[in-house]
């Protein structure tokens, strides 16, 4: 039997983290959380999570930044918004999850070789480069970065897609890619992240 100490010291907290998250648009209502568990109760994926959504809410509010950003929970959120709709305190839990994902990516603390953040990154990159998504290429890239062997398991699916005429290797692009790039750059600039 392996035993593990689970005590939390004040030093484990990152004071201000909770307030900081709550200051982001869409995340304000978190301060009203009464820990009722409705979010977990309606979440279709809560059964796989290391912390239930309710626990994530409390960890955020109590400034346990590391626990939250390293949790699987935020990557398991499928953005179905069931929690947001049902929350009796109208906390936009889905949007808080988005915010936590962003922070985890920025701080590079998400679980390595975990396909979800990789997919998100590749997706974003593809939007930057081409303005549109080619699902085939996106999935291929994700598998190459996370688990190349699993890609082989997808071969059957690829065949079926081809049979039904839904498989395409063409990368769709928009005409004014430079326009989109400029907008993105401007957003960075606005947010004080101008390219060095």
């Amino acid at each position: 039997m392996e035993i593990k100490r689970t005590i939390k010291y004040e030093a484990d907290r990152v004071p201000g983290f909770g307030r900081d998250v709550m200051s982001v648009p869409g995340c304000e209502a978190l301060e009203h959380c009464i820990q009722c568990g409705t979010c977990s109760g309606v979440c279709p994926l809560s059964i796989y999570m290391d912390y239930t959504p309710r626990q994530v809410m409390e960890l955020v509010r109590s400034d346990f930044k590391n626990e939250v950003l390293q949790s699987h929970t935020i990557w398991l959120c499928a953005s179905c918004y069931a929690c947001t709709t049902e929350c009796p305190r109208q906390i936009r839990i889905t949007d808080i999850m988005y915010e936590l994902k962003q922070r985890a990516i920025k701080e590079e603390v998400y679980p390595k070789r975990f396909p979800i953040p990789v997919l998100a990154e590749e997706f974003t990159k593809m939007v930057h480069d081409y303005g549109r998504i080619s699902e085939t290429w996106l999935v291929t890239k994700m598998y190459l970065r996370t688990n190349p062997m699993a890609a082989l398991g997808m071969a059957g699916l690829g065949m079926n897609l081809m049979k039904t005429g839904r498989f395409s290797l063409k990368q769709d692009k928009i005409e004014h890619r430079e326009e989109l790039a400029k907008i993105m750059e401007a957003v960075d600039h606005e947010n004080g992240k101008a390219k060095a």
Binding site: C80, Y81, A82, T124
Partner: protein, 288 residues
């Protein structure tokens, strides 16, 4: 009636059956759709997870293009596009800081988005603009005897849509009843299909699709009708894997627009049942 049309990436890719069936149906109903000029990806759920500001700006570029076109209404059939474009509208209205960032970013390329256009879903347009009476008039082959499980998925009614009830939407039910189909009552019509998790985390994602398919069969449905390219993909494409993991749950999933095409008696190449991986036998039987 004329709308700006935002197809989104999926409707040009794996979800092409949605566009291929929706466009003829809308045309048949006298609705003119004008595809947005040089639209870009809405950002979907993935972009929001990386950078909210950029996600909004990317989506807002589409809104700005629509505003420039002079068309006040944007038709967004894909659930993710519909949600993201709507969410962007909300953010622009509710958060002045976001509005400022986005409008300054758009201004660098001479675009302007004042959030004046309305993002609409085809179900909303069919029920509220066109009306079921007009739909009824076009029916030549009522879907008598076809038992359909209406599946709305998550993102079209939650959290921004106002055209239907968030917990118990009924617009598609009413549409299907108008088409002559028997609508199956089931409690899963807004449950998650697994979304992108079917690809990234099959254990969790596929299980959700499996539950949906199994329950639809259990309740006696012949076919599942959906409004979202990702839902359709998840419920259609993974049958071999689901069968291997749990049990075979053979039931086809089609877009509501395909059922409309059938009922309108449109030619096969405008109903594109051939795009489905699960055999469409029940449909054929019902039609016979």
């Amino acid at each position: 009636m004329k709308y700006a049309y935002f197809p989104g990436c999926s409707l040009k890719g794996t979800g092409r059956a949605y566009e291929e069936s929706l466009l003829p149906v809308m045309k048949h109903l006298g609705v003119e759709l004008q595809e947005l000029d040089d639209w870009n990806c809405c950002g979907a759920t993935a972009y929001m997870a990386v950078d909210e500001g950029k996600a909004c700006a990317a989506a807002a570029r589409n809104l700005a293009i629509a505003e420039k076109s002079g068309l006040q209404q944007i038709l967004a059939p894909c659930s993710a596009c519909y949600l993201v474009l709507n969410k962007t509208q909300h953010y622009l209205h509710e958060y002045p800081a976001m509005r400022q960032t986005v409008s300054r970013a758009l201004a660098t390329v001479g675009l302007r988005c004042d959030g004046s256009s309305a993002v609409r879903h085809p179900l909303d347009v069919l029920i509220n603009d066109i009306g079921l009476e007009a739909v009824k008039q076009k029916i030549t082959r009522p879907l008598k005897g076809l038992k359909v499980a209406p599946y709305y998925g998550c993102q079209i009614v939650r959290p921004y849509a106002t055209f239907d009830d968030q917990s118990n939407p009924t617009t598609m039910d009413r549409l299907l009843e108008t088409l002559g189909a028997t609508v199956i009552k089931w409690p899963l019509k807004t449950k998650c299909c697994g979304g992108s998790l079917t690809g990234t985390l099959p254990e969790a994602g596929l299980r959700l699709s499996y539950i949906l398919l199994k329950e639809a069969i259990k309740r006696g449905a012949d076919v599942i009708a959906t409004v979202c390219p990702l839902c359709q993909f998840n419920l259609d494409a993974y049958h071999p894997k689901i069968a291997a993991k749990w049990e075979p749950v053979p039931i086809p999933t089609v877009y509501f627009s395909q059922l409309m095409g059938l009922a309108f008696g449109l030619p096969a190449d405008q109903v594109v049942l051939n795009r489905g991986m699960v055999p469409m036998k029940p449909l054929a039987a019902a039609m016979a």
